[in-house]
Symmetry: C2
Subunit: 219 residues, 2 copies
């Protein structure tokens, strides 16, 4: 894979996040996300088009080519691996990692990233619960959602705890709620949005506040 400037990388990454199955990304949309002006977007789109990283026809918006998607995924891979490293190894708070990873992701050295991946034991999700692309750009498809958004009776697996404070971790410990455990929501009480859940064949009730910090794999 060729080398890209920090700017190009940020454009590609952001287009990846904005584009959906049916809708092209628009100039204004991208300009806003990148805190730049629409004219700058047009400039860059011309450039990325000649590099065959985006499909772009004037006034029609744009989307990544397969090659562009590959590059974007490799940048997202770097970003999320660094986030994981920062939280797991350097003990950054989960809400501080993004900003630092924004810088680290632009250090492009394949061996570095693959060795980092190995060192971290090939994590599947970053501290925000987002999936980390593997060396081939593949990642877990289901988006992480928190328990309070999980449909009733849908089996899921705990994959991440947000707001990892002392207090919360202790609380989870007491209730024996651990990462990896299978979980299922039996009932939702609309009075206080508390949940009755089934965990290891035991029923227990948890508050909405707690549920919002427990993330599960959602096919």
């Amino acid at each position: 894979m060729l080398n890209f400037s920090t700017s190009e990388e940020n454009y590609l990454k952001t287009i990846f996040h904005l584009q959906t199955k049916d809708d092209n990304v628009t100039t204004n949309e991208l300009a806003e996300k990148l805190h730049t002006k629409p004219a700058s977007i047009t400039d860059m789109m011309k450039k990325l088009k000649t590099r065959k990283l985006v499909n772009y026809q004037p006034y029609q918006g744009f989307r990544l080519t397969p090659e562009g998607k590959k590059v974007a995924l490799s940048i997202i891979r770097r970003h999320r691996l660094w986030e994981y490293f920062l939280a797991e190894k350097l003990k950054f708070n989960w809400d501080e990692v993004h900003e630092v990873a924004e810088q680290l992701e632009h250090v492009s050295n394949k061996k570095l990233i693959d060795k980092l991946d190995e060192y971290l034991a090939f994590p599947k999700f970053d501290p925000h619960g987002d999936p980390i692309p593997d060396i081939n750009g593949k990642m877990e498809t289901g988006k992480q959602i928190n328990l309070s958004g999980l449909p009733i009776n849908k089996q899921a697996k705990i994959c991440f705890i947000a707001n990892q404070t002392e207090l919360l971790m202790e609380h989870l410990n007491e209730k024996k709620i651990n990462i990896g455990a299978s979980i299922l929501v039996k009932r939702r009480f609309s009075f206080d949005e508390s949940l009755e859940i089934k965990l290891d064949n035991k029923l227990l009730t948890i508050s909405d506040q707690l549920a919002k910090n427990i993330f599960v794999n959602h096919g």
Copy 2:
């Protein structure tokens, strides 16, 4: 401390390495080290002068101001901590770390570097044997030199092994030459530059080739 561009950081770092007590750094010298042309050096020196990071009078060469030195040391700190991380944690070979650290050193986030330092247990030397500045810019003064450069009868301590190949490490193992050991050169045979050394009160002879890979702390 303010923020500097990657270019500015490379200039400051390189001036630091080139400047000596009595000699200013010259335009050509710096141009060669940075693989750039003399005219570019002059451009940047004007800029760094207005930023009060270098002292510079046309045609007189330049040197860092105390502020410039402080910045340079913080960049060198980043560089060497990353080198240590790459070798120690990610198991990079010692001769591969420099290139990657050249990129990582420009990620400027104080908390990141200080947490990395802590995570690595505050190492004093990088994999090349160069001292790592601490959080205040202080570092071990003695420069590491290899055994073949150590004066006769000068007591020293092994602090680093270069060229850490399987073969060499085995060889050192057999001779019981370990990091941290006290060592002293008794004689230097000019025929082949082999050395007679004293280690743990035992005398042994080692080749110049081996000596060049054993680094010691040189007051």
